[in-house]
Structure formats: structure tokens, C-alpha cells
């Protein structure tokens, strides 16, 4: 068993964090050149844990080292992908790993200011983080001339106000600047022109919290914990009818079967696995048979036709109606579409209407093909990935559970 790197129990306080070697990596990083820090992170094969999986070291290296003026580091803590609840747990159990990771990242990209953009509903979590930041500032880990190195870094939390789209990194920047959270057209990418038009790196909570261990023990050590191009450990959040739902930190490449049977104690009595959404609600669904054979890492899930995403593993049992669940998702994406791009704004609403007809028993068989073709028509045609996040579940649900959609179209509605 690999020891937990991110989730260690009872290290919320600064003293306990020190006892685990906390803030030693920061001292080490302050003695390194920025390019050396980035190189170490590149070697670790750390990839973005928010969902997109972009290589972290590469992302940092895209900030031009010679750019004049301000640069910013932003932590994306706008956790809102249905099925995902790892960042909240990480913030509450190990806030200093995030703060230390941010200070090291800021050092690597030359940022003097950082913001943690946290979802508006996490009011208590924001207060908790503010306390941890105050503790860190009192010890000289944040602020001016950090540990006598001459490096300055100020860090603030910034609460959102209820908009799923702000988890998309450029919508997040718009929101952080005090605008509606509508994604920006790229390029320019945030590394060149991000927050307040300055070079900016945006990383997920879990990504940044992994950085101190990488600096402490080396990129190669971290990479070896995982498999192939998927370095390190990942937080998997399991919800649904299992005996022990919750957040589990496991090496990438762990078999789904082990997560379900060993960590989660299997399905609840009387419940039979029907399907799994492996990486948050935006990722294509897997049948029970597909899931049983899959390993949980970026490459294996892509090969299985889905995605690792955020690590939000949603377990679905055979008493659930797939049409009804898809309707729940369509209602969500329709509500959360920012309205900027026509295929998304109109498409999400259209899909929800078709699903409403299927649920009410007023749909025809042609509606099933219509559902698929509307979804297909939405993919790759919008500024951000929200349209695809709606379309991919629709296409996978319809393809893999067509029988249930056929039954609804024939008027056999589940009534649940």
C-alpha cells in the first residue's frame, strides 16, 4: 500500500503539519531556481486533477520567464462537478499542503499574488482556509521576504456565488475580476494573458497540494507511485449505494474493482452494480462489465471510452432508471449553461425537453435518435467544454442503455 500523500489524518493544524515535515519543501524550493522547480514537477508526471488532466509542469513552463509586470497564481477550488467532493475534504484535512504548494508554485512562475477561488456555498471552508492562511503568514510562509529569501507572495481567498461554469478556468478569471462567469475565447491562453490581463497559472486544489511532496522527495519518486504517464496518487470520491462512500487516496492505475470492493466495502446489501460514471457527471458512463475491467488512470479510462475527470466516481445500481438519471443531469447542464454559445444554450434545453417527454411517456422512438443527434451536434462547437460535458453523457447513456430509452418511448415509464 502506498502511504497517503494528500490525505493524512489530523494534520489540519500547523503544529501537526510541521510534525509531518510540513514547510520543509518550501525551504528547499526557495533555494532552487524557478526552472529547477518546474523541471521537478515535469518529471513527476503530475497532471491537472480538476478534470482536464493537463500536465502541470508544462502549464507552469508556458508562463514566459521574461514577461514584465505582474503574474498571478490562482487555485481553482470551485468544486462543483456533480459526484466530486475531494477538494472540500482536502481543504478541511490538510489546508497547509495547499498553501505550501501555492507558495512553491508562485515561486516557480514568479507570481507575487495568489487567489484561492472557492465555491460560494463553502462559507465555513473559506473561513477555515482564512485561518490557515493567517497561521502561515504569522510564521513567515506567506507575505514579504518569505523565510528571508527575498521572495514575496500574498494569498487571498475569494468566494464565488453559485455558478458551475466558474470551474472552467477562464470563466473563473472573469468571475474573479468581478464579471459574469462567461468563458473567454482562447487564445490567448491564461499563461500569456489571464487574470487582469497578466500571465496566470490556474491549478486545482489537489494538483497544488501534491507539489510539496514532489519537491521534498523528487519528481521521479512521485511518478513511480502511479503508472505510465499518470504520475502519483489521486483522490477518488465515491458516491452511490456502496457500504463506505467517501474520499480515497489511491495510486493512479488502481483497479476499479479494488476501489469498490476493498476501499468501499462493496455494494450495499441487495444492490447490484449497473453502471459507473467514473470521473464526475461530465464523463461518459461505463457499464458494470466495462467498469469491472478498468484501471483508474488517465490512459486506461480514455482507452475504455471515458475519462478520469475529477475522480468523482458515481456508482449506479440496477434499481435506478437511466432515463431519469440523464434527465437529472440535463436539467443541471441546462441550468448551468452560461448562455454565451448557441449550441450549448439551445442544445441543453432541447435535450432536457426530449428527456422530459421520455420521462412523461409522451416521446416517440424518433426522439431517441433526436436525443443522440442533438448531443452530437453540440460537441466541439462552443467556447468551453460545458456543451461536451452535457453531450458525452447523453451519447453514452443512449448507446449503452438504449433498451431503457426504447421502453420509455414505448410508454413503459418507470415512475420513479
Amino acid at each position: 500500500m502506498t502511504d497517503n500523500i494528500l490525505l493524512k489524518n489530523n494534520i489540519a493544524g500547523l503544529e501537526a503539519y510541521f510534525a509531518c515535515g510540513g514547510y520543509k519543501p518550501l525551504k528547499k524550493a526557495l533555494g532552487m531556481k524557478p526552472a529547477e522547480i518546474i523541471e521537478e514537477v515535469k518529471k513527476s508526471n503530475l497532471r491537472g486533477r480538476g478534470g482536464a488532466g493537463f500536465p502541470t509542469g508544462l502549464k507552469w513552463s508556458l508562463v514566459p520567464p521574461d514577461a514584465l509586470g505582474q503574474r498571478y497564481l490562482v487555485c481553482n477550488a470551485d468544486e462543483g462537478e456533480p459526484g466530486t467532493f475531494k477538494d472540500r475534504e482536502l481543504i478541511l484535512k490538510n489546508p497547509h499542503a495547499l498553501i505550501e504548494g501555492m507558495t512553491i508554485a508562485a515561486c516557480a512562475i514568479g507570481a507575487a499574488h495568489g487567489y484561492i477561488y472557492i465555491r460560494g456555498e463553502f462559507a465555513a471552508e473559506t473561513e477555515f482556509l482564512n485561518k490557515a492562511i493567517t497561521e502561515a503568514r504569522a510564521k513567515g510562509f506567506i507575505g514579504k521576504n518569505i523565510l528571508g529569501s527575498g521572495f514575496n507572495f500574498e494569498l487571498f481567498t475569494h468566494r464565488g456565488a453559485g455558478a458551475y461554469i466558474c470551474g472552467e478556468e477562464t470563466a473563473l478569471l472573469e468571475s474573479l475580476e468581478g464579471f459574469k462567469g462567461q468563458p473567454r475565447l482562447k487564445p490567448p491562453y491564461p499563461a500569456l494573458k489571464g487574470l487582469f490581463s497578466s500571465p496566470t497559472v490556474i491549478n486545482n486544489v489537489e494538483t497544488l497540494a501534491a507539489v510539496p511532496s514532489i519537491i521534498e522527495r523528487g519528481g521521479e519518486w512521485y511518478a513511480a507511485l502511479g503508472t505510465g504517464k499518470s504520475g502519483g496518487t489521486k483522490l477518488f470520491c465515491v458516491s452511490g449505494p456502496v457500504n463506505k462512500p467517501g474520499v480515497y487516496e489511491l495510486p493512479l492505475g488502481t483497479a476499479f474493482k479494488d476501489l469498490l470492493e476493498v476501499n468501499c466495502g462493496g455494494m450495499k446489501p441487495g444492490k447490484v452494480l449497473k453502471a459507473v460514471i467514473p470521473g464526475g457527471s461530465s464523463t461518459p458512463v461505463l457499464t458494470a462489465r466495462e467498469a469491472s475491467a478498468v484501471k483508474l488512470d488517465y490512459e486506461s479510462l480514455a482507452a475504455a471510452g471515458s475519462m478520469l475527470g475529477s475522480g468523482g466516481v458515481i456508482i449506479i445500481d440496477d434499481t435506478q432508471c437511466m432515463v431519469r438519471l440523464l434527465q437529472v443531469l440535463a436539467r443541471f447542464y441546462h441550468h448551468e449553461s452560461c448562455g454565451q454559445c448557441t449550441p450549448c444554450r439551445e442544445g441543453c434545453g432541447w435535450l432536457e425537453k426530449i428527456l422530459n417527454r421520455l420521462e412523461e411517456g409522451t416521446a416517440s422512438h424518433r426522439d431517441i435518435d433526436l436525443l443522440y443527434s442533438v448531443a452530437e451536434g453540440m460537441t466541439g462547437r462552443t467556447i468551453c467544454a460545458l456543451a461536451d460535458a452535457m453531450a458525452l453523457p447523453v451519447m453514452s447513456f443512449v448507446t449503452k442503455f438504449r433498451g431503457e430509452f426504447e421502453a420509455h418511448a414505448a410508454g413503459r415509464v418507470c415512475g420513479k
Binding site: 466530486t84 462512500p245 437529472v328
Partner: protein, 166 residues
């Protein structure tokens, strides 16, 4: 109704604005502050905030209406929100919502005539491992059942809003 930003508000606002290179970046945090004081963000408050930040009123209105957390009318003393996304749905959120509709005799989006309760459904609250989840004002109540919901309502009736899982 005339609306004036309080001195306390202006002092807090000054500290918040100082965190950003541009004052208008503080717009969302300041809307949170306004809502904390009054329970909602009134039209007149948007107008005053726009003047304070030297922004057009339309910008403040656009932002206030874009984000779901800002109430534009007074909400009840207790704003009960039931998460209805996929994990909570599977764990029984529709039953919780139905139970609340019956117990409070209101529909989603409505407030009881005594001004005590507002009922809403919410999208994923980010606590799926302890589904189903209910939020009352800023507190989370997790792994809810109909029995626990009745106990919560009993607490609220006595004016007690106890912290959830945190």
C-alpha cells in the same frame, strides 16, 4: 425606499478592495457582504454599490442576476435548499423535497407567509459522499433521512440552527 451603505460596510469594503489591483474585482465579495447585512440584495443596494465602485448599475445588476446565491427579494429566516443532483437524487432527494413541500405547504422558490422558511432546490453542493444533502442558510446537513429532516425542522421551529457536519 432610500438605501445607504452603512459605515461598517464601507470600512469592510475598503479592506476587501485592497486585495485586488482593480477595485471592481471586489464586486462579488461585496455583494456577499451586502446580502449578509440585509439577507438579500435590493435594487437600491445595487445602485449604491455601483456608485461606491464607480461602475455602471447595469454591470452590478448583470452580475447579481447571473449568480444563483444572491437573493433579490427578502428570503425567509431559514433558507432551506435541497440538493437534487445525481448522487443526492439516487439517495432520496425527491422524497426530502416532497416532505418539505408538505410540511411547509409551499413550493420551491416560495417563502412561508410568516417569513420563516424559504424552500429551494439546489444543484450539486459538493458533498456527494454524504448524500442526500440539505443546506440551511450557510450550514450543511448531510446523510439526511426523513427522520433527521423532521428533527431539523423541530430545531428550526425553536430557533436553533445547529452546525452540520463541520
Amino acid at each position: 425606499m432610500p438605501f445607504k451603505l452603512s459605515d461598517e460596510f464601507k470600512e469592510t469594503a475598503g479592506h476587501i478592495c485592497a486585495r485586488y489591483p482593480r477595485r471592481d474585482a471586489a464586486l462579488i465579495p461585496l455583494l456577499h457582504e451586502l446580502q449578509k447585512e440585509k439577507g438579500y440584495v435590493a435594487e437600491e443596494a445595487m445602485d449604491e454599490l455601483a456608485k461606491f465602485l464607480e461602475l455602471p448599475y447595469t454591470r452590478v445588476k448583470a452580475v447579481t442576476t447571473f449568480y444563483t446565491m444572491f437573493n433579490r427579494a427578502p428570503a425567509g429566516k431559514y433558507h432551506i435548499q435541497v440538493c437534487r443532483n445525481i448522487s443526492c437524487h439516487m439517495a432520496g432527494a425527491p422524497d426530502l423535497l416532497g416532505h418539505l413541500r408538505t410540511r411547509l405547504s409551499i413550493e420551491e422558490g416560495e417563502t412561508t407567509s410568516d417569513g420563516i422558511y424559504t424552500l429551494s432546490s439546489a444543484e450539486c453542493l459538493g458533498a456527494c459522499g454524504t448524500a442526500p444533502v440539505i443546506q440551511v442558510n450557510e450550514e450543511y446537513f448531510e446523510s439526511m433521512t426523513l427522520e433527521k429532516l423532521d428533527a431539523l425542522l423541530e430545531d428550526l421551529k425553536r430557533g436553533r440552527l445547529r452546525a452540520g457536519a463541520l
